[in-house]
């Protein structure tokens, strides 16, 4: 396992990003195996905002990373099952993951951990050998989220069941980061936080909303396949099978696992973006839509989430008021399906 030894992981420095507007300040750094970006107005809030985001990301990594031998989650996995008292932060993250599983009808499921391992996603993605020769294990359903019980901070984890929070953790991180930034800035101005492309905003947005590019892959901004939208509140997230792909035994695999089979989802949509009241909701919804395959449109419509789906042939489908033209605001529904009861009162970690 390519896990970082305790105390050896270093926080990458923030780099200023010049976007062309000097009324906002933007910075980004590597974090959680991907990129974190912060945009704030007024610009002088940038330093305290970045520091607040550092705190949130550091805590989340310590709580929920399955790639760190010294994380709380790794300790749980090594304990062999039982009843555990979790920190507030990990309890919230697990609670959100279980709520997402319930909401999506099991299309996201935190017990996909061992399926991901068997597929070869057994270390930080950057360290995966993308050309391993042996084929992946035969398909099998994952243990199932219903076997994991959470009562407040008390977790019952059956022996042999390990959890992965990948379908919701980045969203939780963006939500926490926005709350933390608003707290340290005294709720002055506005903030946008992106973790690997899962974006939450808070405070007062720019006029007409934060300009956000919707793309399938990093670096596609400005390409004909991208779209500019405006986000005034809530969050937007994207899941795609075009990234985090690797080859094993001649088979191309990706990281979005169908809990029913334990294998990469194999539906008609390669990328789904969705808007929701919170980034965890949006994050879970886009993953669930990829897994839902042919039922994705029905599920997103029933959930009332504005969404943009891209098929394997490049066809784009917009649902529930997602703008079809560039530069228009994305309507954001009210209310979270995931945080009620899962979030410790006043907790931000």
């Amino acid at each position: 396992m390519a896990t970082a030894a305790p105390g050896l992981t270093r926080v990458a420095p923030w780099q200023r990003v010049m976007t062309g507007d000097d009324v906002v300040a933007v910075a980004e750094r590597d974090a959680l195996g991907t990129t974190a970006r912060v945009a704030v107005w007024p610009p002088e809030n940038l330093a305290v905002a970045c520091a607040a985001v550092d705190d949130v990301l550091g805590a989340l990594d310590q709580q929920a990373s399955r790639f760190r031998a010294d994380s709380e989650l790794s300790w749980l996995h090594g304990a062999g099952g039982g009843l555990f008292m979790l920190s507030d932060g990990l309890a919230e993250a697990v609670g959100v993951a279980l709520a997402a599983a319930r909401w999506t009808g099991g299309r996201t499921d935190p017990t996909v951990h061992d399926a991901l391992i068997s597929l070869g996603y057994d270390r930080d993605f950057a360290a995966i050998d993308s050309q391993r020769g042996e084929p992946p294990a035969a398909s099998a359903p994952v243990p199932g989220w219903q076997r994991v019980r959470l009562h407040g901070p008390l977790l019952h984890l059956p022996a042999g069941v390990r959890i992965d929070l990948g379908a919701t953790a980045k969203g939780v991180g963006s939500d926490r980061a926005v709350r933390a930034v608003m707290a340290v800035t005294g709720h002055a101005g506005g903030v946008l936080v992106s973790l690997g492309g899962d974006i939450a905003v808070g405070g007062t947005p720019p006029r007409e909303g934060w300009p956000v590019t919707v793309a399938e892959e990093p670096g596609q901004a400005g390409s004909p396949r991208s779209q500019l939208v405006r986000l005034a509140s809530g969050a937007v997230a994207t899941s795609s099978v075009t990234c985090r792909r690797w080859r094993r035994g001649g088979t191309v695999l990706h990281h979005i696992v169908d809990p029913r089979t334990g294998r990469p989802a194999d539906g008609p949509w390669r990328t789904v973006s969705a808007a929701a009241a919170t980034c965890a909701d949006a994050n879970a919804a886009t993953t669930a839509a990829i897994v839902a395959g042919p039922q994705a449109e029905d599920w997103l419509t029933t959930a009332g989430l504005p969404a943009r789906l891209v098929g394997h042939d490049g066809e784009v489908r917009c649902l529930e008021g997602w703008p079809t033209a560039a530069g228009l605001p994305v309507p954001v529904p009210a209310g979270s399906h995931l945080y009620g009861g899962a979030r410790p009162p006043g907790g931000t970690r």
């Binding site: 550092d54 805590a59 809530g234």
Partner: protein, 138 residues
């Protein structure tokens, strides 16, 4: 089930992640020291019952919600919770994209190790690419 093992090595403190420039906030983080620990079935049952009782009591005493239940959590302001605000009223005019929602790209793994007294920083950087490039032309 084992008895409580609160003092065993299973404690996972939330360590300070910052460098020297972060020292000023270390105290805050130390205050929030938390850990995962195994608890016995009896302890767990007592805590569950106690938590449920407390929640019930609080719910009984709570003021009724005024019309709608405000969602817990949520990153945004009240605007995001109602979904009814005028977008961007009061903020500056921003014309250029500030972020991209996209599949999470893989960027870099940074690790620092001390080997024979020498600090070695290792950075493994991977482009957000995929093994087969099968989507390169789509």
């Amino acid at each position: 089930m084992d008895a409580d093992h609160g003092d065993r090595g299973g404690r996972v403190p939330l360590r300070d992640f910052g460098g020297p420039d972060r020292a000023g906030r270390a105290g805050t983080r130390r205050d929030s020291f938390r850990h995962v620990r195994r608890v016995s079935n009896w302890t767990g049952a007592a805590l569950i019952v106690g938590t449920a009782a407390a929640a019930g009591a609080l719910a009984h005493q709570a003021f009724p919600a005024a019309g709608t239940a405000a969602p817990a959590g949520g990153a945004g302001t009240s605007a995001s919770r109602t979904g009814a605000s005028a977008p961007g009223a009061g903020g500056p005019q921003v014309t250029h994209s500030v972020a991209t929602t996209t599949a999470s790209g893989v960027t870099v793994t940074t690790a620092t190790r001390t080997i024979n007294g020498t600090t070695v920083v290792t950075q493994v950087r991977h482009a957000p690419a995929y093994a087969d490039n099968s989507y390169a032309d789509n």
